[in-house]
Every structure is written in structure tokens, then in C-alpha cells.
């Protein structure tokens, strides 16, 4: 991946982490929050 991921943000039950692929395309990773909710 090119560069460090941006600081994660949140949206409802998901955490959002933004990255940039080596060819410049955006990649966004959404992870379910682990605040006691089942995954």
C-alpha cells in the first residue's frame, strides 16, 4: 500500500479506515465495531 492509512473514523456500527493502493486507487476498509455487538 502507498503511505500510511488515514486515522480511522466511524459510521454507525462500522469503523472506517482509508488507504491508497500502490496504483493510486482508494481502498476503504469497514470493520464492525467490537463494542459487544456480535460480528
Amino acid at each position: 500500500m502507498a503511505g500510511k492509512p488515514a486515522e480511522p473514523s466511524t459510521c454507525g456500527p462500522v469503523t472506517i479506515t482509508r488507504l491508497v493502493k500502490d496504483d493510486g486507487r482508494a481502498l476503504i476498509v469497514y470493520a464492525l465495531k467490537t463494542d459487544g455487538r456480535p460480528k
Partner: protein, 315 residues
């Protein structure tokens, strides 16, 4: 990233419509074996895929073969799960609910872009509708113009003197014969004038122009209704059921319409399944393509009865 000169729009005068040319897509990955699936996780010691992690939940990335690209729109891939053999219907309910939040976040972010007039979230499922990757995923197109179908929906609002989907929900609830499933926030039915044998529309009960306007509980119940329907589809003929899933929301700009389009629209999801029996496809042939008139082999009320039974079996 692709050369923008390979993407162009031309205007077809006879039909009065835009045609998008994205000629690099001719070379896109086509039905790879599962060992070469670009949407699977990158496993240690294996060649990298599009997603450089050994596991993930939901990811969105810029399409390697975009039909639209900045500064004139965008094309994104939304991967629902790292399980190659899953489907939207088989996702855990919490994952399906999370996907609604992902869709919402993409609608808000892409809709804020000046070059995007309409955010269109969709899924093509099955080779029958042209899918090129089997791994469960959908797509998002950010159109740099307002496409014809949402434009027609705005015209329906004007024709009916208010929100057309609000009117149609009331009609379907009063009639009842084509209803498929309901929960506190969502109504699912085969439309009165369905084009496809098992076409279904999934509508928010309350007037919600977009995912942005939904309460968290409404997003959860939207995921519930979508999963009920898609499980029912798979139960109908006891086979993976191909469909196009189209999420319709308010336009994100007022371009080309006389009203503030962002005020109009009613979030709903339309499904266009090409199967009319377990092994027969509905083709778009002479009347549909040349005259623009669908000829259907089935009655919506009869299809709805069969689909209701399948939804009950698929629960």
C-alpha cells in the same frame, strides 16, 4: 489508474440518451477460477489480490476498470465479505446491517462531489445478468449526469402530484395481493405492472429520500427486508437466483431538472430477476428493445403468491 481518454460519453439523438464508452473494460477480469479471484483476501505466500489483507469484513475500492472516473464521476466496488461462497442473502444479519451503513456513507461522500449528480448502488448477481466475478459484491456508480430512470421517477412524482413511491405503497397495501413481506419500516411487493416475472420492489414506509435520511433502526429493517427477499428468491427454484438489485435514491444535484432534485426521491430497492421459470430466461427481444414495451409471460399476482411461499420457506 486508467487513461481518462478511454472513457467518453456520447449523446444518442434518436433516443435522447447518454451512452458511456469505457473501452478498457473489454479487458476486465472475466469469471476467474476461485484460486484467482481478485476479491478474495490476500493469503500468506499467495499472489496479491485487490485486498491486501488475510481477512476483512467489508471493503470498498475504486474499480480497476471504471465506467466513470474523476473528474467525471466514479465507479467503486463494494465487497460484502471475504467468504467467496457467501451471498448477500447468507450474510449474518449484523453484516447486512453494516452494509446499509456503508452504502449510506458512500452516498453521502460521493453525493457531496460536484462532479457526481447521481449515486447509484447496485448488484449484478449471476452470469445470467452478466456478472464477471462470483465473489459476493456490489458496485457504486457516481454518474456525472442524472440517468434516465431516476429522471423518470422524478417525472412520476410530478405526474402523481407528490411522491410517487408514497402513493404506490398506499395502493399496494390497500390491494394486498402483491405484498411479499413487511416489517415496521419496509414494505416489499411485486409491482402492479412488473416487467419481470419475479420483479420486486423494497420501499421505506416513511418518506425517506435517501439512506442519509434513515434512522438506524430503519437501516436495520431495510437489511432485514432485503435478506428476506433474497433468501426467498434462492428458495423459489432451490438454486442461486440471479438478479439485478438497484438502489434508487434522491439525486445529489439539481442538474437537468426544474426542481431541487435533492428534495425528491424515495429510497427504494428494485430487483430485476431474469428467470421466469427455474430454467427459462426472459430475454429483452424485439418488442422490449425495438419498441420499448415489455411483454410479460406471467401475472404479478400469481408470481407474488409463489414468491410469498418461497420467502416463508427461505426464512
Amino acid at each position: 489508474v486508467n487513461d481518462p481518454s478511454k472513457i467518453a460519453q456520447r449523446f444518442e439523438e434518436l433516443r435522447g440518451e447518454q451512452v458511456d464508452y469505457a473501452i478498457h473494460r473489454q479487458e476486465r477480469t472475466f469469471l476467474p477460477t476461485r484460486e484467482h479471484c481478485p476479491l478474495c483476501p490476500t493469503r500468506p505466500g499467495e499472489p496479491p489480490t485487490e485486498i491486501p489483507f488475510p481477512a476483512y469484513e467489508i471493503v470498498v475500492f475504486d474499480n480497476r476498470f471504471p465506467a466513470f472516473e474523476a473528474p467525471r464521476g466514479t465507479a467503486e466496488v463494494v465487497v460484502y465479505t471475504d467468504d467467496h461462497d457467501a451471498s448477500f442473502a447468507t450474510l449474518a444479519p449484523e453484516r447486512a446491517e453494516a452494509l446499509m451503513w456503508v452504502w449510506r456513507q458512500r452516498y453521502i461522500e460521493l453525493g457531496a462531489r460536484a462532479d457526481i449528480d447521481y449515486v447509484y448502488i447496485f448488484e449484478n448477481r449471476g452470469v445470467e445478468v452478466g456478472v464477471t466475478l462470483h465473489h459476493p459484491h456490489g458496485q457504486i456508480y457516481g454518474y456525472p449526469f442524472l440517468p434516465p430512470v431516476p429522471k423518470l421517477e422524478l417525472a412520476a412524482d410530478a405526474r402523481l402530484g407528490g411522491c410517487a413511491p408514497c402513493t404506490l405503497i398506499a395502493r399496494e397495501l390497500a390491494d394486498g395481493r402483491r405484498l411479499l413481506y413487511e416489517n415496521d419500516s419496509v414494505v416489499v411487493y411485486v409491482p402492479y405492472a412488473a416487467r419481470w416475472a419475479y420483479e420486486a420492489h423494497v420501499l421505506m414506509r416513511e418518506h425517506r429520500p435517501s439512506l442519509r435520511d434513515c434512522e438506524p433502526e430503519e437501516l436495520r429493517l431495510l437489511a432485514d427486508a432485503l435478506q428476506m427477499l433474497t433468501r426467498g428468491y434462492d428458495a423459489l427454484f432451490e438454486r442461486p437466483f440471479p438478479y439485478v438489485m438497484a438502489v434508487h435514491q434522491a439525486p445529489t444535484s439539481a442538474v437537468e431538472v426544474a426542481v431541487d432534485a435533492s428534495e425528491h426521491g424515495h429510497l427504494h430497492v428494485e430487483f430485476y430477476p431474469p428467470l421466469r421459470t427455474a430454467d427459462k430466461l426472459k430475454y429483452l427481444a424485439g418488442s422490449e428493445q425495438g419498441a420499448g414495451t415489455f411483454i410479460s409471460d406471467t401475472l404479478p399476482e400469481e408470481s407474488a403468491a409463489k414468491l410469498r411461499e418461497a420467502i416463508a420457506r427461505g426464512r
